[in-house]
Subunit: 71 residues, 6 copies
Amino acid sequence: MATDTESGLPSFRQVQGLIQDDTEVEIKVTTNDLLVGKLHWQDQQCLCLIDHYDQPTIIWKQSIVFLKPKP
Amino acid sequence: MATDTESGLPSFRQVQGLIQDDTEVEIKVTTNDLLVGKLHWQDQQCLCLIDHYDQPTIIWKQSIVFLKPKP
Amino acid sequence: MATDTESGLPSFRQVQGLIQDDTEVEIKVTTNDLLVGKLHWQDQQCLCLIDHYDQPTIIWKQSIVFLKPKP
Amino acid sequence: MATDTESGLPSFRQVQGLIQDDTEVEIKVTTNDLLVGKLHWQDQQCLCLIDHYDQPTIIWKQSIVFLKPKP
Amino acid sequence: MATDTESGLPSFRQVQGLIQDDTEVEIKVTTNDLLVGKLHWQDQQCLCLIDHYDQPTIIWKQSIVFLKPKP
Amino acid sequence: MATDTESGLPSFRQVQGLIQDDTEVEIKVTTNDLLVGKLHWQDQQCLCLIDHYDQPTIIWKQSIVFLKPKP
């Protein structure tokens, strides 16, 4: 299984909170795309985002620039 | 052989599921190309995608931004 | 929990100082966006920035190019 | 010497096969250049490509987006 | 504290020399910005540059492409 | 000191050969700049290039896409 090191970080737990609260988020990635949806799950490597059509997108964390709750 | 750490991650197993189900996927990479095809195999470093002409492309995971089942 | 290695670095402590002093900063990221606000928290992986509307943005450190106190 | 971890990966061995079979390949890198030629050698960090004028190019693996046999 | 591995490298010591000699440098980063100033300190993760207005900029080493003494 | 792992790689030794032979090289970096000159030294993190005006440029290896002897 995955390293505990990373899953114990505050940022990992913040994202976990956004998953549990079903918060709509915006994620900016290195290609400059802004992805919008609700977070479904995360692990050390990826985040899964569900868009408005209920389609899942697996985002590699290595490509994330920033993430924020949709205002 | 490869580290078990990574192959035990949920995201690794999700991709494994897409391989087994022969799902058509779209993969966005850092150069902004959108690659389309079916996943053939993966390891810790790469994914192999088979396109419509049955040609294989070895994609380095380090360059993946996101991956989603084709709607 | 996180590695002590990184949190013991001078740069980590400098950012910690900017958090405590409530300093307004500019952060340039790889997508060329310039994000402005006050730092709220950091860990080994992310920084949290609060903008003028009190909205939080979680920035992945991997995407930071530079950071400076707003002149 | 290099870590066995990486050289034991299927993707490493696939590239090794392309070297042995003298296959012509296309390599897309992060700068969006598409490099064409035959693979001469690889290690954990680099690939060596020989172009049509028999000139070698050492490609850092960190910059590879994808690689495919020339159709 | 930080790993000795990196601070023992020749390149780390070269940068240390530029700090001590108060050399004016140009730093090209991944966003293509060319930052100019004098180096103030470095650690394994960051470099601090002081510009002509005595303003500090903390540069993440991960974003550095090259660095040269100003001719 | 630095890890032996990397300095034992064939690619590291190839670059070492180019240094000893005073070969003129072209280095393409992630910002798309093509740097030309002779290699002066390398370590695990950086390469030093001397241009036609005898000016040194310290290039971070993380930003290298490819390197080739000038034809």
